[in-house]
């Protein structure tokens, strides 16, 4: 499979996402440390919160929802 898991764009290198969603995934990972420090959340709870918070980027929400679907 060569398409992004979220959209039908080509995958970026050996990731499962396209360039847009790869960058969004990196942003999600980067921000997790600050969320954990702020609220002491686990990864799944963090994704659930991020997916519904106002102001979250479209690509970030799509990636968070994609990961949550897999869990």
């Amino acid at each position: 499979m060569t398409e992004c898991k979220v959209c039908d764009r080509p995958r970026d290198g050996d990731t499962v996402y396209c360039r847009r969603h790869s960058k969004a995934y990196s942003s999600l990972e980067e921000a997790y440390g600050r969320w954990r420090y702020a609220l002491g959340l686990g990864w799944v709870e963090y994704l659930e919160k991020v997916a519904s918070v106002s102001g979250v980027g479209v690509w970030v929400r799509e990636v968070a929802e994609d990961i949550l679907r897999e869990i």
């Binding site: 969004a24 999600l28 600050r34 420090y37 702020a38 991020v50 102001g55 979250v56 980027g57």
Partner: protein
């Protein structure tokens, strides 16, 4: 003479014939044929031969030719900038003839007042301003080279990939500008809000409520916020220190064009293009100086007292002008930016008659800013009180304007006094309200026309004369949309594709470098021919790389175009087959617009009114299931079913 009005005047023993140009009367076209790229050879031709919609230029060129034939000498009196100098040069060279150039002089002025024009006549240059002309010409030629080659490359790539023709364009400055918008959209799309907590506290002193600020504007951990709340809520603070200082708030410098456009947007939400248009009308009426200036400075040659004396005759400004005239010396606040050709925008003092709403707003901004820059600094007494609440540090802050100075002249700057009662070390201050509020960091804001213009200025791409038009072009091409500027799918697709396959086109550094060289031509620091030659040399490898990647570029952009076109033309699901989509179509031969089902096995089609803009509504007709669309008849919106055989005709006028 025909359609052209010209003027005959006498000056001493001279008879003067004054003929207006109509903006640029000459333009660049490709020398030689072939709709391909790269194209490096060009020539200047009358603008009506090069660009549609310039038919009036022919009459002006003929007037210049006929009236110029018998003249003994010529004076270029166009606006003093690259464009003005080039307009006059081309008219003299091509319409009158090469011989005219050696008998030409140049008037230089920044306002259209009688005094300034007379002074400019007396002190005119003996020759044309050739370095300014060369700078203008080189800018047009480099912009043409980049524009024609990149636009053709894009259009041909799409045509070869998809077989369909759609004119696409991108320019030397358009590319990086679109890149800024795309970069911002990327930041927004991959933004993760992060929680933080804000402390909101109040105290009551002498029956009045005062806000207290915690020393940290945000707390990054919920547990810290809870600890603080339990320690300080209903607590009593002790004043640790009272700090007092007087802030000297300097007046702002006078406007350059960018500052004026930003201020008009901030105060009146006027677009930069509207502000420029209003400022140009005011300049042509001789009410303000030339607006396309980078300068924030008023040189000593400007008679400030004379202008104030004239403004005194206008009741709106009389008290302030009189107050300033009483000063022994007038020293305007000068900004850092300068312009070799023009001073900062300032009023001439002439009292305007019957201004339109936008001109009136811009005029008032210019006059008040001019008055403000001559005013005294404002003096604001500030108090900061440190209050310890159970080991947590809070501040009470107050400010009182002791002397309003320039603020008196410039009502567009809000200053609110927040007086504090007298407090001294050791006094008790009760915390009467305290709450911690969970907030989230916000994504960066989208550009608006003003902030995008500012970004272009900061990056030094484009010029004060072209930036507004470049933003406008991006909008007309369908690459950006809205007053809160969003990049469209088409714009996004183009930038994303070019960033991968042809990053040179999007390079801010390259555009800025070329911009700096073009600026240096004007001061003699660069040779125009070398700069244009260098631009051709830079363009070569960019176009070669483009050509090498023409297939993937064409495929990627075609895909975006197809998606965009499909979205724009989607009217709704097909009620006949239930599988396809009803799409708007145009017959390429007859140009007839109709709607049909995308399912090749379904023959459903609908005739539509011609020459009407058709807007999808996303709704289906309740009677027959065909898509409903919105159209305008005599400017009134109508929502109707597209099925002519619909049992109800499904027609309803919008309220």
């Amino acid at each position: 003479m025909g359609e052209v009005t010209y003027y005959i005047a006498r000056k001493g023993n001279n008879e003067l014939i004054v003929v207006p140009a109509l903006g640029h009367l000459y333009s660049i076209v490709q020398a030689g044929g072939g709709w391909t790229y790269p194209v490096y050879e060009m020539r200047w031709v009358p603008v009506h031969q090069a660009v549609k919609g310039h038919s009036r230029a022919r009459a002006h060129i003929e007037a210049f030719t006929r009236l110029g034939r018998g003249a003994s000498s010529y004076v270029s009196a166009c606006d003093y900038d690259n464009e003005g100098s080039l307009i006059a040069y081309n008219v003299l060279k091509y319409a009158v003839g090469d011989n005219a150039l050696s008998r030409s002089s140049r008037m230089l002025y920044s306002t259209l007042t009688k005094d300034d024009l007379n002074r400019s006549w007396e002190n005119r240059l003996d020759t044309l301003d050739y370095t300014v002309i060369a700078a203008g010409k080189a800018r047009h030629e480099t912009d043409w080279l980049y524009g024609i080659n990149l636009s053709r490359a894009l259009t041909l790539a799409v045509r070869r990939a998809s077989g369909s023709h759609r004119t696409l364009s991108i320019g030397r400055v358009q590319g990086p500008t679109l890149g800024f918008v795309k970069q911002r959209e990327d930041e927004i799309n991959r933004f993760v809000p992060v929680p933080y907590w804000r402390v909101q506290a109040e105290t009551v002193i002498g029956g009045e409520v005062y806000p207290m600020e915690y020393e940290k504007p945000r707390l990054e951990r919920e547990s810290h916020a809870k600890e603080l709340a339990s320690a300080c809520r209903d607590g009593e603070g002790i004043v640790k220190e009272v700090k007092e200082e007087t802030e000297r708030r300097l007046p702002p410098p006078p406007f350059n064009l960018g500052d004026l456009q930003r201020e008009a947007y901030r105060v009146h939400r006027m677009s930069p293009a509207s502000t420029l248009a209003a400022a140009e009308k005011l300049y042509l009426g001789a009410y303000i100086s030339y607006p396309r200036t980078s300068s924030q400075r008023l040189p000593p040659s400007i008679d400030l007292r004379d202008i104030l004396g004239k403004l005194k005759g206008n009741p709106d400004y009389a008290p302030h002008a009189e107050e300033l005239l009483r000063k022994k010396a007038l020293r305007p606040r000068q900004g850092r930016k300068d312009d070799p050709a023009h001073p900062a925008i300032h009023p001439t003092g002439a009292r305007p008659r019957r201004l339109g709403d936008q001109e009136r707003k811009v005029y008032d901004l210019v006059v008040r800013r001019f008055l403000a820059c001559l005013g005294a600094p404002a003096l604001v007494d500030k108090v900061g009180v440190e209050v310890d609440v159970n080991g947590y540090l809070f501040y009470l802050r107050g400010s009182v304007t002791r002397r309003r100075g320039w603020l008196e002249y410039y009502p567009y700057m809000k200053d609110r006094d927040r007086p504090l009662p007298a407090l001294s070390t050791g006094m008790a201050v009760p915390v009467t309200r305290l709450q911690t509020k969970r907030c989230y960091t916000k994504p960066p804001p989208r550009f608006n026309a003003s902030s995008l213009l500012q970004r272009m200025e900061q990056e030094n791409i484009g010029t004060k004369a072209t930036r507004t038009a470049i933003i406008d072009t991006l909008s007309k091409r369908g690459y950006i949309i809205g007053s809160s500027v969003r990049i469209t799918d088409l714009g996004y697709g183009i930038v994303e594709t070019l960033e991968v396959y042809c990053p040179g086109i999007m390079s801010v550094e390259m555009t800025r470098g070329l911009e700096e060289k073009l600026e240096r031509i004007q001061t003699g620091g660069e040779d125009a021919e070398q700069v244009v030659g260098g631009a051709k040399a830079d363009l070569g490898p960019i176009l070669a790389r483009f050509k090498a990647n023409e297939t993937p570029i064409g495929e990627a952009i075609s895909e975006t175009l197809n998606e965009t076109t499909r979205e724009e033309n989607y009217l709704g699901p097909c009620p006949t087959c239930g599988k396809g989509d009803v799409l708007l179509n145009r017959n390429s031969g007859t140009e007839v617009v109709y709607a049909s089902c995308s399912n090749p096995d379904c023959k459903q089609s609908y005739g539509l009114p011609q020459k009407k803009r058709i807007h999808p509504t996303g709704k289906s007709c309740p009677a027959c299931g065909a898509p409903m669309v919105k159209m305008y008849f005599n400017r009134k919106p109508w929502t109707l079913c597209i099925n002519a055989a619909c049992p109800t005709k499904g027609e309803a006028k919008d309220d």
